[in-house]
Symmetry: C2
Subunit: 408 residues, 2 copies
């Protein structure tokens, strides 16, 4: 009989967002008139930039003509988009990343999980705790872990705690690891890494022949010009890092879908026969075989992000959400809560008060303020006692939510 | 040091379409004025339906408003699109497929390779020969095969020859297999399967607990109302088959990107611990974790395929390409060539003349008629001595290419 991939059976049933959905639904059923405000999931709310909409409409008109019709495009993305990305996001910041090292995709979630396709099964893998659940779950599904233990931690993964004690940037592991997932600005804690901190990671990776999977989906929210937006701003990172980027959060593309991954040429891993193999070629083959590229229409929309008008609009969106974050920080602090993050990231990470646990605080806010957030423990054992609020919402909702929490 | 997936190193370097590209480039460099006509790759050429373009523009306008903005959508696709698919493509033909068994995606190439994620490593796998290369390569990359032998066949795969001798529908395997890739109407041979033939496969699969991966990307080209468009028109197929569908070829979405996969509830596989596991839940978890859904704008475009205007336009596109196929069949026959397919599929499968091998005929057409096709041997050892021409092109190009071949 056909066999299934039994690794899926190791996944914990109580995945974070479905459990939130379940509790919210139960509450709404009991209180159908309660005016819920959702600051849980990190989904943007503001309209798509005009520049992107205009560009997509032009692309659609072209698709209606014999001359302007586009069929299959390059699986790696169109050259004009890859060039725009390389120039604006990397070369402008002194990173020697070329257009052919950019792979356009339909999402960072896809890329950060699909990347395991080209990596071996014997790698020792490190994730931070708390962590974006997709890094962990994709490893479980690919058979790179053992079973989950009592705290929900999977055997075979190295968990690097991040907490107030270490300024929310994980410490360099004492045991050698081969693969390290890092996300800065961080989801869920809203922490950001300095050049010095990233340099320590790059030095560690180069010394140990490790690969850093660097998720920079939130780089646009960095306010301090001294902070690095890309791992490639660190000397030596081309030899040890792959970077994931997205248009989801800067340009509001969560429902429009476009992202990209940077795989530097010359970056190598080891085959079982001890041969050095370039990861660029493997990823190129993976994408060519298992992916058909992003819609021409959507790629034209993404290209418009780099136009003068697009850049202006993206700047406006980022400022708007960061003002929300600032309001959340200020109001929660004034309500007596201890808050972290929210200065270079659209997430505010709250220490739960009075020794409440994360789900206890979730229920407290849901029941008494009708505000939905995300329990820190859902992102990992070390997130227990924390809580995440997202700055992605309308100003009216943010103001209203904060007033309700103030009034508790 | 970080380890790579060494299975990629088993892949043959000379992948079909890059090799075609290399030869065409060399020819064009030597003959820069030669008026090439490309009937090689199966890519559509006619403008996108007006109904789809209109719907996408409305969606873009909505994305520019606070009320109409769409962020993250359901990973499985929007309910309105899944409902339209279930009603029009399945229930209208008597297939008991419900909307929640439809998973909208950005491509059948992705789905037909990603499906291996949820299947075990010990399955005995059968593919036809010739075959769409992605089925084979995705298995190689996932470590489900051994090395390639002299004929390019990979150890560990069962190859089921399809040729003129068996009417281009593979014979039921004599040895038991667990996983069978079938594609009808067939790429590359243009053959189609009857209800009787598919019933034999379904009976075999049910008897052996095997899973059929049925690729119906070309179903819209079927002309005979008696022929099945879906495997689910066969009794019992819900218990043994997953079906892949696409908007690429019927509605011209190769550059727009939308497809879907049907996973019936109740369809089961076996875990290593002998437990029966529903594939629907595994695929749902796979898509939720590793995929973010298709762009809202594109899904609105796909939905418009099912409007009255959209159906009319799709019918026009299919008729247009099938007229091309008919011209190709007629002209080649009159030129003395033996042709197959092209009656219910946009591909014509040609027996190479005078004992020429597939690449020999490729070079012959390229050099003497400046027409680019696809060597049958590129699709598998049993494709040697055959050649594929695609009906996807303008009428002028098809007429011109046929006139040139006639004149040889």
């Amino acid at each position: 009989m056909v066999q299934v991939n039994g690794n899926y059976l190791k996944l914990k049933a109580g995945y974070l967002f479905p459990e939130i959905g379940r509790r919210v639904k139960a509450f709404s059923t009991a209180h159908p008139d309660a005016p819920l405000i959702r600051l849980g999931i990190g989904d943007v709310t503001e309209p798509l930039p005009q520049a992107c909409r205009d560009a997509m409409k032009i692309a659609i008109d072209a698709m209606g003509t014999a001359e302007g019709f586009h069929g299959y495009g390059p699986e790696q993305g169109y050259a004009w988009l890859r060039e725009a990305i390389a120039t604006h996001d990397f070369q402008s910041r002194g990173c020697a990343i070329s257009a052919d090292e950019i792979f356009v995709s339909d999402g960072s979630k896809c890329d950060s999980s699909n990347i395991l396709d080209i990596l071996g099964e014997g790698n020792r893998i490190a994730v931070t705790d708390p962590v974006y659940p997709v890094y962990v779950d994709s490893n479980v599904m690919a058979g790179r872990t053992g079973q989950a233990g009592d705290e929900g931690r999977y055997a075979g993964l190295s968990y690097l705690p991040i907490s107030a004690d270490n300024g929310f940037t994980a410490e360099i592991p004492s045991e050698p690891v081969d693969l390290i997932y890092l996300c800065f600005p961080n989801n869920p804690t809203g922490a950001v890494a300095t050049k010095k901190q990233l340099t320590a990671w790059v030095d560690y990776a180069r010394k140990n022949g490790a690969l850093i999977l660097f998720d920079a989906a939130y780089e646009a929210f960095i306010q301090d010009p001294e902070l690095p937006h890309s791992i490639y701003e660190i000397d030596g990172a081309r030899d040890c890092a792959i970077e994931f980027r997205s248009f989801s959060k800067n340009a509001g593309f969560t429902g429009t879908r476009c992202a990209f991954t940077v795989v530097p040429k010359g970056l190598k891993g080891k085959a079982a026969n001890a041969e050095d193999v370039e990861l660029w070629g493997l990823w190129n083959r993976r994408q060519s075989t298992k992916f058909n590229g992003v819609s021409y229409i959507i790629q034209r929309g993404a290209e418009a992000v780099y136009s003068a008008a697009g850049q202006q609009e993206v700047k406006g969106l980022v400022s708007f959400y960061m003002e929300n974050a600032s309001i959340i920080r200020k109001q929660l602090s004034s309500a007596g809560l201890t808050v972290y993050g929210g200065e270079h990231a659209p997430y505010v990470w709250i220490k739960t008060p009075d020794g409440m646990d994360s789900w206890g605080f979730f229920d407290h806010l849901l029941n008494n303020a009708n505000v939905v957030g995300t329990p820190g423990s859902g992102f990992g054992a070390a997130g227990e006692g924390y809580f995440r609020l997202s700055a992605f919402n309308s100003r009216a909702n943010v103001d209203d939510a904060m007033a309700r929490i103030q009034a508790l």
